[in-house]
């Protein structure tokens, strides 16, 4: 056990920090600017770092990827775009795709020439994702897709979608699903923004009416989609863990500054013993998340995959984020609810990924999403209970089998 960074890693961190100081844009106003920033990051070798070199990646170590993400968080750098391409679709193609698919898609994901979304959830298939009903029917030379997807992040700008669809309604539900790469720019695909409680629309609904998917765009084999989806849901865990905590820490410092300025009962809130207890607890929780991120990184560096352990990380940080934001709201009072007209000292200086000014209100509302998306807290607890602790599965009607 040695939690010091190696000299190489320290040097690499310095190099990334220096690069960011010179190249980081102050503020990004629209998608074109974000794509340009994305492109610079890619050309500097800071995107898709873990991907194979022959498809445009760097073959870098997990630690180097984590350092780049961490330094970007530290500097408050804008995020790159094409998050679902980099985080989900790309890694899926790297692991499960054909050579032709890798050559065709991977580099354009890295350069953001082609934007991706993930077509998994449906109105009646949320936590029970395997209940999805979108159908892909074999029409000889292609598949014909009909159905509806929801909670599609980045759907409005997507050129391609990583799709889960039912190809065999006659077998038990987990076995009749296939994974596809679908062209989003076709007449049969209708994308409508979904307005969330934040007032913004990071997510979309996608309606597919006789949409077409070419045969060569099937990923893996027919009926193997569920297994592929299980591995891809794990990709996003781990690599960004350190950066996430660094972002929390930057928000925390801004909160402490606000707590020095704001007063309660005639004295700064930061001197109020009750608030101090809560601030102390949140900082301890935040640091414990950082230690956990270091443990995950240790595993990744050794070539091990956290597997179901990723559920512990996800459950822990997403629940933490809600507690953190609830404390922020408590300290900031009505300032914490302002979405416009926020005095500069109570603004939240973080990148919002949609280009707006950061606000505590947005971050607070957004914290409600983390315990729902990518497997709700309840689903994570099921995974932990069954796969890590080995507790018996519950008796469930759909495990008995039968057609869909």
């Amino acid at each position: 056990m040695d939690l010091n960074y190696t000299t190489e890693d320290v040097a690499f961190r310095k190099q990334v920090r220096a690069w960011l100081e010179h190249h980081m844009p102050r503020h990004i106003k629209n998608l074109d600017e974000r794509r340009a920033w994305h492109r610079r990051l890619y050309e500097a070798g800071y995107l898709g770092m873990g991907w194979p070199r022959e498809y445009g990646g760097q073959g870098a170590r997990p630690m180097e990827q984590a350092i780049v993400a961490d330094e970007m968080a530290r500097a408050g750098a804008p995020a790159p775009t094409n998050g679902l391409g980099l985080g989900i679709a790309g890694p899926t193609i790297v692991v499960h795709g054909t050579d032709a698919q890798k050559r065709r898609y991977l580099r354009k994901i890295l350069t953001a020439e082609e934007m991706w979304c993930q077509l998994y959830s449906e109105p009646n298939a949320g936590s029970d994702l395997a209940a999805l009903r979108t159908a892909a029917v074999d029409r000889g030379d292609h598949f014909e897709v009909n159905g509806q997807k929801i909670w599609t992040s980045g759907g409005a700008n997507a050129d391609w979608g990583l799709l889960l669809a039912r190809t065999d309604p006659a077998v038990p539900k987990h076995r009749g699903i296939t994974c596809f790469l679908m062209d989003m720019r076709q007449p049969g695909v209708d994308v409508r923004p979904l307005k969330q409680i934040t007032g913004s629309s990071e997510f979309c609904e996608v309606f597919m009416t006789d949409a077409r998917v070419e045969k060569e765009n099937m990923v893996g084999r027919l009926g193997e989609g569920w297994g592929i989806a299980q591995t891809t849901l794990g990709y996003e865990r781990g690599g960004r863990a350190l950066a996430r905590v660094t972002t929390y820490a930057s928000q925390y410092r801004q909160l402490v500054d606000a707590a020095r300025r704001l007063k309660r009962n005639g004295r700064p809130i930061v001197d109020d013993p009750v608030t101090r207890q809560k601030l102390g607890r949140v900082w301890a929780d935040l640091e414990v998340e950082r230690y956990g991120a270091l443990r995950t990184l240790t595993m990744l560096e050794r070539g091990e995959h956290p597997g179901a352990g990723g559920s512990i990380t996800k459950l822990s940080y997403s629940e933490f984020e809600k507690r953190f934001m609830e404390l922020a709201e408590e300290i900031l009072g009505p300032y914490g609810q302002l979405t416009d007209g926020v005095p500069a000292e109570y603004r939240l200086e973080v990148d919002t990924a949609i280009g707006d000014h950061g606000t505590w209100a947005y971050a607070f509302l957004w914290s409600r999403a983390g315990t729902i998306y990518a497997g709700s807290s309840e689903i994570q607890k099921n995974v932990i209970g069954e796969r890590i602790l080995g507790l018996p599965k519950e008796a469930r009607a759909d495990r008995v089998g039968g057609p869909r």
Binding site: V288, Y291, L294, I312
Partner: protein, 375 residues
């Protein structure tokens, strides 16, 4: 950066676990509850032979020269076994206290004796006001001839009834001092304080003009504050390691029980109400593991965030362990509330350590002081 145990560390943990499984099973723990001294001399001798009693001491003083990560591994296993005995008092409170502040002669006299098991040590860090801030010490030291006379009341002194030497803070005109006190000497009286954890014995230690020689003073007069700060941090992390072990044992027992206990015609572990509780317990245990070993490493390595890490560790684990051990009773239902079932041994171990060396509230205040002072 490597946050995993080395091969040697894994071997150490396995050998400690095997030895305690064999020589300190719950039946033995229970037998010690009724023992006047409260611990097993044979196991104590075995621990000396295995090198546990001198684990963190320098090799030239009979120790193994290992760090706090290794010490935490041993303590975690002791929590897992609800080990009854003066290990923590002797090695952590007495031993590390001497290592931090003792003169070469004091170390030479005591560390080899502690390591060999011949002497047992402790420290009296708490008074009636329960304030962990060393500056709050009210016991007094006055010069008398070549030596000193000490007066004051110390509470919750672990294993003082079997100790040969106790580190006692007292206030002298020069400032805060630390003295080595033989609790069997004149002017010192002990009275048992019996808590819910019968494997963790406490005494009230009363000093009434107790004479101590000049060489009982640890370090220069007035210099005890930083030594006590360092000792309290190490004790907080060590106690957290023990609480972590108790919590992990409670989780293991709960999961085991949920796999065999049937109600409504099903194993209770198949109910989400039970399974989700167990999952939450695992999250708390894994986070506690992170907090304990990060802090243990940081203190050993002298990392700049070491003091903060110790407070983060104790504040986090104090509440987590209480929650996990309490949830374990809930998962077990009625059987978990019986004296006969072993669960309460671990529940009480975690609970008994929760307020010691600073509870969660104490350490949260230290954390915030650190953050707000950093500007």
């Amino acid at each position: 950066m490597n946050f995993s145990f080395s091969e040697d560390q894994v071997l150490l943990r396995n050998s400690v676990r095997a030895a305690l499984d064999e020589q300190c099973p719950p039946a033995r723990v229970r037998a010690m509850m009724d023992d006047e001294r409260g611990y097993d001399e044979a196991l104590w001798g075995e621990m000396a032979k295995l090198g546990w009693l001198g684990l963190p001491f320098p090799e030239e003083q009979g120790g193994a020269g290992l760090g706090l990560v290794e010490l935490a591994l041993v303590l975690e296993e002791m929590g897992r076994a609800a080990y009854p005995g003066p290990y923590f008092a002797s090695v952590v409170l007495g031993g590390l206290g001497l290592m931090l502040g003792g003169s070469p002669a004091q170390k030479e006299k005591w560390l080899p004796a502690i390591a060999s098991g011949q002497a047992r040590a402790s420290a009296a860090l708490l008074e009636d006001g329960l304030d962990w801030d060393p500056a709050a010490t009210t016991a007094t030291a006055t010069r008398a001839g070549h030596g000193w006379r000490l007066t004051g009341i110390k509470r919750f002194v672990p294993w003082a009834h079997v100790a040969d030497v106790v580190l006692v803070p007292a206030r002298a005109p020069e400032g805060l001092c630390l003295f080595l006190v033989d609790p069997r000497e004149a002017g010192v009286t002990l009275a048992p304080m019996v808590g819910i954890d019968l494997g963790n014995r406490w005494s009230e230690l009363r000093l009434t003009d107790a004479p101590v020689p000049a060489d009982a003073l640890v370090g220069p007069a007035g210099s005890a504050g930083p030594v006590m700060d360092g000792l309290l941090r190490r004790a907080a992390v060590g106690a957290s390691a023990e609480m972590l072990g108790a919590a992990r044992r409670c989780l293991d027992m709960s999961v085991g029980y949920a796999k065999v206990r049937e109600q409504f015609g099903q194993l209770i572990g198949s109910f989400q109400a039970i399974r989700h509780r167990c999952a939450e317990m695992l999250v708390e245990v894994e986070n506690s593991h992170s907090a304990v070993y990060y802090a243990a490493w940081a203190l050993t390595a002298g990392a700049e965030d070491a003091a903060g890490a110790a407070s983060i560790c104790k504040s986090y684990v104090s509440e987590s362990a209480r929650k996990v051990c309490g949830d374990a009773i809930q998962v077990h239902g009625g059987i978990g509330f019986t004296w006969e079932y072993d669960l309460h041994l671990y529940f009480k171990r975690a609970k008994s350590l929760e307020p010691l060396y600073g509870d969660a509230a104490h350490h949260r205040e230290l954390i915030v002081r650190g953050i707000t002072a950093a500007r």
